[in-house]
Structures are given as structure tokens and as C-alpha cells.
Symmetry: C2
Subunit: 433 residues, 2 copies
């Protein structure tokens, strides 16, 4: 007995039927419009890269456990990209001298992660990546954060719907190594723990910190002091000794600069971002909807990555925005508009005379109208019901009589209004719509 092929896509991935793809295109086009208004230009990189590209700085868990890796027929160790930042850094390094700065780049690549299925997470997803290279000052961080915010605003989001959380790797480093006087190794390990702070009970966090520190440090209440710092959302409530250090200045400046526009931005010491490459400001944007209360967007400054390729280092700030959590956000807040197929007219054939209708239909297309045709083998009523189901605004009936007279009937399916006229006048009606 013959066995049939499975109709299902690979686990953790999505098929995009036209109604799904239209939504994705709408999301991507809106993102494009915003980033292009800031002068960002689109790039792309190969889907597959050398595995070593990710081992360097993506972070252990991502490069080793969550990445699709394989060996090609030439023995090369490869990876399907789990993120875009290493690729764009490689590309910039490759033309370090020829490129002009500030360099503003964006891309909307598909990325792959080997991970458990959960709501809003897929093995294949798409992510807007926006990066600004070659601008050293806080102006760069500010530009990136304003683009990020502009995207949410352009999607129609209110400030109550999303929340910016901002932190700094340099600041947390200072807290751990200078303020709490931890060793280099403790600082590294506890940084990783902070990254998971919101994913575990607070007692677990304390226990795990306890295990990493000495008795003397415990007696100095290191875990409690740390928690107090990272749980504060008001900078002014931080210990006085931290308020005037250089490491806190970028956070302060960004909050002040945007105090009148991005009013939904606050300090959050638990934001760490998983990747090893961040060097200073980091931020995430959360959905405030309790059903989708997750990070939707994240980024920060990574000044060291381009230099890993043996060229002059380059200050860089960027962020990523994934399609799946964004879609959940849009749906959860009722922000997604109805998006139609873009087909403007459905030709309903009366009889088997499709050969004779070529000229008329071609003329409509030349006038810039998107025309789909029904199947002449089907009844007129069946053809019409397909147009209705597909929410196409107009049907155009064509039979022998219409071809002879040059007068065709155009019907608006929403209003049921019919107009009989020649093709040019009917085209005008369609295009006015």
C-alpha cells in the first residue's frame, strides 16, 4: 500500500497562507516605513554562516543548545542563523574602510532556534534588525530608542500598552565588581543569574547567589543589596554611592532626553539581554497585556563586535523586533486592521469564450487594476460566490453579448450596485474606490 506524505509543516514552524502572509507583509511594511524615515537602508546576509561566528559572542546557550548546526559535504561546521547581529557585524567588518559612517542598516531576516514550543515562540521566526554603526555618543542610543518607540506608535499603540525597560551592562558591572566588591568570576556568573531573575522565585535567586559568594560577602548582605538595586524602577531610590558614577550617566541621560515623549520608559536592573556582546546601554520593550506579558523587542550597545574580525572597532547600537510576539501584541490590543487581498476585480466568465476575453482583461491590467478570473467551467453563481468569499470589491461579468456590445456589467459586491458601461469608464469606477 502506498503511504502518503504528511501535509504538516515541520514542528514549531508556520505555513503562511495568503491571509497570514498579508498580515506579515503589513507588519513588515510598517516597520520598513518607520526605519526608512530615519535613513536606514536594507541589507541581507546568507541564512547559513560558519558556526564559529556564533560561538564567539552569542552566548553559550544560544550557540550550543539552541542553534541548528550541521556539517556540509566539505566538512565545514555551519549554523542556520539564530540571530542577525553577528552577520551584520561581519559584513561591516568586511568593508570597514569603504563604508561611510554613521552607517544605518536594517534587515528583516528569518532566524532559527531549536527550542520548546510555547506561545509566541517558534523555531522559525522573523526579526526586524536595526543597527547604527560609527556614532559614539548617546545620540546613537537615543536614535535607536526613538526608532523603536516610533514603530510602536506607528502601529497605533498607546503608551499604556507597552513599557520600555532600560539598563546598562557597564552599570551592572560596576554594581557587582565595585559596589558589591565581587570577584571577576562572581561578577560574570551573577550577571547570568540576573538575566534569569524574572524567570525564577526570588528565594531561588538568593540561594543561587549565596552559593557563589563567600561567608564574608554573605555577612555584607550581598544578595539583598543586589536585589534592592535591580528591583528599583526609580533611579533616585538607588544607593547614593551609585547616583553619580559615570556608568549610570547614559541611563539618566536617555530617561531625561525622552521624559516628555517616551513616558513609558523606566530603569530596570533585571534587564540583561542574553547575548555576551553588549557593552553598555541595553533595553527591552514589554507588552503590558497580562496575557502576553513578555519582552517583544530588545537591544543595546555592542561596541566590541566588529573588532572581533580584526578591523578597527566601531561603536554600535541596535535592536531586534520579532514577528510572533508583535503579532500577539497587535491582536491582544485590537490594533490589527483588516487587510484585503489586493485583488480589485473578479472576472465572471459566461460560457467558454475565455480566449476572446484576453484583450479586455489585458486592458484592465494595463490601467493598473489587479484582476483575477473565475473558472469558465463553473456556473456564474459559483464564480460569484468565490469573489464574495475572497472579499473582492468588484465582479465584472463577461459573455458573448458583452463582448459584442462593448458594454460590461460591473457589480460592487458590498453595495450590490451595478453599473453598465464600457471598460474604460468601469476602470475609472474601480480605481476611484
Amino acid at each position: 500500500m502506498m503511504s502518503y506524505l504528511s501535509v504538516n509543516p515541520y514542528k514549531g514552524t508556520r505555513d503562511f497562507y495568503p491571509e497570514d502572509k498579508r498580515i506579515q507583509n503589513y507588519l513588515f511594511q510598517t516597520m520598513r516605513k518607520v526605519v526608512q524615515s530615519y535613513g536606514y537602508e536594507e541589507y541581507d546576509a546568507p541564512l547559513i554562516e560558519d558556526l564559529s561566528l556564533y560561538l564567539a559572542k552569542s552566548g553559550e546557550e544560544i550557540a550550543n543548545e539552541q542553534t541548528y548546526t550541521f556539517i556540509d559535504r566539505g566538512g565545514r561546521k555551519l549554523a542556520i542563523r539564530p540571530e542577525m547581529t553577528p552577520s551584520v557585524s561581519r559584513m561591516v567588518a568586511r568593508r570597514r574602510q569603504e563604508l561611510t559612517y554613521p552607517l544605518r542598516l536594517y534587515s528583516i531576516p528569518n532566524l532559527w532556534r531549536y527550542e520548546r514550543q510555547q506561545k509566541g515562540r517558534f523555531r522559525e521566526h522573523w526579526q526586524l534588525n536595526v543597527d547604527l554603526f560609527g556614532l559614539d555618543s548617546i545620540q546613537a542610543d537615543n536614535e535607536i530608542i526613538n526608532i523603536a518607540d516610533d514603530i510602536w506608535q506607528t502601529f497605533g499603540a498607546k503608551r499604556s500598552m507597552y513599557q520600555f525597560k532600560i539598563n546598562s551592562r557597564k552599570f551592572i558591572d560596576y554594581v557587582l565588581s565595585q559596589y558589591l566588591k565581587l570577584t571577576k568570576d562572581q561578577t560574570l556568573r551573577i550577571s547570568k543569574l540576573i538575566d534569569r531573575f524574572n524567570k525564577m522565585p526570588i528565594t531561588d535567586f538568593i540561594n543561587q547567589v549565596d552559593e557563589l559568594i563567600s561567608d564574608q560577602q554573605r555577612s555584607f548582605s550581598v544578595p539583598e543589596k543586589l536585589i534592592e538595586i535591580i528591583k528599583t524602577t526609580d533611579l533616585m531610590k538607588l544607593p547614593k554611592a551609585l547616583l553619580d558614577i559615570d556608568e549610570i550617566k547614559p541611563i539618566k541621560e536617555l530617561l531625561e532626553l525622552n521624559s516628555s515623549n517616551i513616558t513609558n520608559m523606566a530603569f530596570d536592573g533585571t534587564i540583561m539581554r542574553g547575548f555576551d556582546y553588549y557593552t553598555d546601554i541595553i533595553f527591552e520593550v514589554f507588552d503590558t497585556n497580562p496575557d502576553n506579558n513578555r519582552s517583544m523587542m530588545g537591544g543595546g550597545r555592542y561596541d566590541g563586535l566588529v573588532g572581533l574580525f580584526g578591523v578597527d572597532p566601531l561603536p554600535t547600537v541596535g535592536f531586534g523586533l520579532g514577528d510572533a510576539t508583535l503579532l500577539n501584541f497587535m491582536l491582544g490590543h485590537g490594533l490589527l486592521p483588516e487587510i484585503t487581498s489586493g485583488i480589485q476585480v473578479y472576472v465572471v466568465h459566461v460560457g467558454q469564450i475565455w480566449q476572446k476575453t484576453r484583450g479586455i482583461i489585458k486592458e484592465l491590467r494595463l490601467l493598473g487594476i489587479n484582476v483575477a478570473e473565475g473558472n469558465p467551467d463553473r456556473k456564474v453563481s459559483d464564480q460569484i460566490s468565490i469573489a464574495v468569499k475572497k472579499k473582492i470589491p468588484y465582479i465584472l461579468v463577461i459573455g458573448e453579448e458583452e463582448l459584442k456590445s462593448g458594454n460590461f456589467t460591473l457589480k460592487n459586491l458590498a453595495s450590490s450596485k451595478e453599473v453598465k458601461n464600457d471598460i474604460r469608464n468601469l476602470a475609472r469606477i474601480i480605481l476611484d474606490k
Copy 2:
């Protein structure tokens, strides 16, 4: 000593810097415009599919030797898609009952093939896929061929620049099994040989056919008769016994139907298409440029593929168009227009007052203008030279004086003409451009 990461992309792949991506976007947008005018809707499928999807019908060489395959952590045999047809067939089968027909679908996926590097061939390439499901008659083949032709015409190609070659699997099957009276196995093997006819010396072809046939068949001059048939480009010169068979009718009809518009279409019995799934009409489009004399586009009817998934079979016609050969075609015939970055204004900062310029620049963006900013740390002349290098049409100079007076200087970099006015009036000038 630390070793640096390589800046090069994986062998056989391409980085797309903004100037490359702009061209690709132009090619894709033009394709989209044409297929949407015929009522086609975009879909997408996961990049990775079960390997079995390709083993069934893609053809042995493609599925086994040329595909990137690997096994995931759950033990599943997977493939990075080498073509899109199996995926779209799977998707249609998955919703066989809910979908409405005729169903018109397109996609522009990236595809992977493990192959030797050669001009216009890459391991990763993009391919427009256009498919029409559920229309049985020659009307479907005709629609697909007309879309294919419309794409070339919309790119500005003249008929002398490209050539349609049309054939039929059913016709060649009839020639081999009925006319030349070959066995089923001989028919299959010689079909595969014909597919490589243009890639080998004619004497090799004869020798290889000779090896597959009996002495009696040789005495009947099978190789010579076959070559005469597949080398003819004029249907009327075929043996009389072949002129009125059912299997030749679709070829004849398509040639007749398009004799006044697609004048660069002819029969070519050597066109076989590698894939095993074609069932009737097949066609390819060749560049006539002797430096790029290769197939750029190919397709045909594959009525059996959807049925492999255990649902009712569905008549289907489609084609694919790859990005790399298309780009060679456009370049070879001088058809590629100049495509700019889309950045309309470059802000040249005078002094460290970027914080104060936020409002002015935001206003330009709200008016729909794409604005990139120079680096305030650089000299004015350096900022201007970047705008010139990037071919941005306008620069806008902003310093303390301009902010105070509300009058800014806008310079058209092509004409060197300067205008001093308030921001709204300058925006009008930019948008008129």
C-alpha cells in the same frame, strides 16, 4: 595569540549590502506588481521541511546530491528547501477542501542547493514561484505563460532578448513509447538523457542512447529519429504521424493563441525540466545574450503532486524565476535602472546641539520625508561629502543660528542650488522632487 573571525560569507553565498539589496528589492517589487495584477496572492512556507517531501518527486539528483540535509536533535531527517513546489503542494493539500479554486499563489523564497560555483549559480538563491491550482484547461497554461512573458516585458525586455521554448512531457512520452516503441524503462532513461542533451556532444548522446536500446531498435534508427524530433523548432516539420495526436495539441494551441503577442516562443523537444513531477506542458525561457545563454525561468503542468498527500488530485501549472540569472540578464542587456537609497535629506549638524534639533527633524519625518543625520563630531564638509557619496538629493544645515531664526538652508546637491526658508516650505521643495 588571538585569531580573528573571518569576514567572508559561506562559500557560494552572497552578502547583500544596501546597493545590492536595493537592486534585489527592485527586481522583487517588479515581479510582485505583475503577478498581483493577475490576482496572485503571496504565501510562504518554512525554510526547512521533512526530507521525504523532496525524495518523492524532486528527482534523484536534486534530492540526494544537491540538497542540504541534516538530522535534528529529535532524530528527524530534514532538508533546507531546494525548491518551493513541494512545499506549496503540501500547503494546498493541507487545506484542500477549504481553499477556493482557481487558486493563484506566489512566493519569493530563498532556496539552497549544494553545487559547484559557476556564474549566475549560487548555493543560496531566491526564486519567484507562481502557481495556478484547480484550472484544468489550457487556459491555465496560457495564463501562466502570459504572466511569465509579462514579467520580462515589464522589466523592459525586447523580444529579441529572450526566447520561450515549449515542450510537453506527454508528447515526449508518446514519441518514445508509441512512436519509437521503446519499453517503459527505456522511455524513462532516455527522458533523463534528453534532459542533458544540450549539455553533451551529440555523439555522446547517440552513444548513450545506443547503449540503452536493442539491435533491432538501432536498425530502426531510433537515435537519429529521436534527434530529428527533439531538434526541430518548427512543429510542422515533425513526422506526419505526430502532427495530429492528442499529446501535441496543448503545444499547438499555446503557440497559436500567442502567435501575435509572444512571438519569441517556439517548440523545443530538448526542454525536459529536471523534476519528476511534470505531467504535460513544460517551458523554459532563455537569455539570447551569448554571454548568459542559459535558462532563466522554467515551469509547466504538474497535475499529480497535490494528490501525493492523500487528497483529491488538483490540476496545477506554475513556474519559477531565479534572481541570479535574472540579474545577469538585466545587466547584460542594460535594463537595470539606477536605484537610489530612498534617503531624501541628509542633516548636516553645525556644532554639538543635536538635542535641540530633535523637533525640526521629527517634523520632516512626520511630513513623510526620509531623513538621515550626519555625525556632529565631524566637520561640516565631511558630513556633506558623505551625503554626496550616498547620492542623497538634499542636505539641510542646522546650527544654533538656524534654530534661533527658524530659517534653514536646503541645498540641492545635484544643482548646487540653495534655498533658505522655514521647515514647512523646505519640506514642500523636497517632496516636489
